[in-house]
Amino acid sequence: MSSSTHDVKRYPGIGAFTVLFFAFLYLPIGVIVLYSFNASRLVTVWDGFSLKWYVAALKNHNLINAVQVSLSVAVVATVIATTVALLAALVLVRARNVRYKRMSETIVNLPLLLPEIVLAVAVLIFFSQLGLSNGIVKLMIAHTTFCIPFAFLPIRARLQGMSTDVEEAAADLYATKFTAFRRVTLPLILPGVFSGATLAFVISMDDFITSNLLNSGGATTLPVYIFSLIRQGVTPELNAISTMIIGISLLLAGLAFLFQRRRY
């Protein structure tokens, strides 16, 4: 690499700055992982390596319950949001002469434009007016709404980057519209659908603001349960739970990354 002291493309020191930035980005994650192996009951007093907090965490029924609530809400929200977003994306990218196209697109993306706390307050008041009391159903409905734009954007991007030639070829070969969609369009946009669904799933699993406001007996999601633990005070068991969440998240992120690379 040619480097002269007068090269205006190079700025000294930014390499070191970038290293510091990444240290900052991964510091809290590293600290949690480190302290989760601490044998001491006091979080910040190091007393040797131990896995006992993991054993304690895995025996915690409230935790397992919260994971079950989070998973069922996330799966339902992801399936509905991705299906609805796929239909909307097909219309908004492919159909000709759609009236009010820009407004329709804004409506689909509306949850991204407004602060989540406002949406949470809105569904809370709405559900209380309707008299809906089933906690899990409330969470499923609310999560579906804010997951739609996250599922929609990757699918739309994939559709926009794809030519219509193959679909026209399918039509020329007397494929019905549905066959052409199932055999040609869907396999081609599958990576976009997969990205959208993954994003929706992660957003739902991670949600705190809405789930906390709608929290009622029996419908405590994982982030809301962790919040209640933090409120009770920092404990090594909490670090073990957090480390397991970090591990699973990073594993999913790695899988998604590999899957994407192979597909594209």
Binding site: A88, V118, F208
Partner: protein
């Protein structure tokens, strides 16, 4: 009955969901913000502007309204911290994005992947990490004491600075990505031209790089500023009860102190602030686009 064409029914599910779970409920929030507080929480649909009055005034001993800035301070703190977070993110992101954009292709992909990776980890877990670092007997306090720099330090938690660190930490990747995209698009020959015309590094930075990457910076600024206005986790966990922001102030109205109309009124105010920021950004973007065409 005529069969509905796909371009109509394909959009229906998304629109029905948005109308039922978002547009109508927000209409109700606006209505509630002008309603009377119920005796046992909740609200009654009797028109009043009491909730908005509460933002500025509180009821004095003798029943008259007294000016009380407590909520104005929370709104001011929200705006100030969101602005500071945006500026700090910009200062951190620019050199980092520039460095990443100038790396060879494989390193570039890897580093950008590392920037987005923390997003996969639950937000509450990441903010909790700062609680350990900044907390009493936490990592920083111990290091300072060990090094003999400070014997007794005030808690690093539960103040504006802790919230600021948490917010910068949470939202900085949203600033890096658009700035990285605009630096990557930058034509290297323009920098060489600047060099040929005897521009030094500072001149090149100010006269060439910054103006050309401004759209990326603006996009990043809006991506950081807006979520900061409505953020809940950082003020709740790192700010403590005394240093509230609008997000946890709203949240609290539906929990502990239970004043639904007041909560709705702050939510309407927050929504207005966000929509105003989006409009200003939209107008600016349109104007700079027009300038580019001319």
């Amino acid at each position: 009955m005529k069969k509905l064409p796909f371009k109509v029914w394909g959009l229906l599910p998304a629109h029905i969901i948005m109308a039922l779970t978002l547009i109508i409920p927000i209409g109700i929030v606006i209505a509630v913000s002008f309603s009377t507080k119920g005796a046992y929480g909740g609200f009654d649909f009797i028109f009043t502007t009491q909730a908005y009055q509460k933002l500025l005034f509180s009821l004095g001993w003798t029943g008259e309204l007294e000016f009380n800035p407590q909520y104005l301070i929370i709104i001011g703190r929200t705006l100030l911290l969101a602005l500071l977070t945006t500026i700090i993110c910009l200062l951190i992101s620019f050199p980092t994005a520039y460095y990443i954009a100038r790396r060879p292709s494989f390193q570039k992909t890897l580093l950008i992947y590392l920037v987005t990776l923390p997003f996969w980890v639950s937000m509450i877990v990441r903010v909790y990490g700062w609680l350990i670092i900044l907390g009493n007997e936490g990592a920083i306090e111990k290091t300072l004491r060990f090094a003999g720099i400070a014997e007794n330090i005030d808690s690093l938690l539960f103040n504006n600075g802790a919230m600021l660190i948490g917010m910068v930490y949470s939202y900085v990747p949203l600033m890096i990505l658009p700035i990285f995209a605009s630096i990557e698009k930058l034509d290297g020959s323009l920098l060489e031209a600047s060099h040929d015309l005897y521009g030094n590094r500072i001149t090149t930075l100010w006269k060439v790089i910054v103006p050309l990457t401004k759209p990326g910076m603006m996009a990043g600024a809006i991506l950081v500023f807006l979520p900061c206005l409505g953020t809940v986790l950082e003020p709740t966990l790192l700010g403590g009860g005394k240093n509230m922001m609008m997000g946890n102030l709203i949240s609290n109205q539906f929990g502990a102190s239970r004043d639904w109309p007041f909560g709705a009124a702050i939510a309407v105010l927050l929504m207005s602030l966000v929509l105003i920021s989006l409009t200003i950004q939209g107008i600016r973007a349109a104007r700079s686009e027009r300038r580019e065409i001319v």
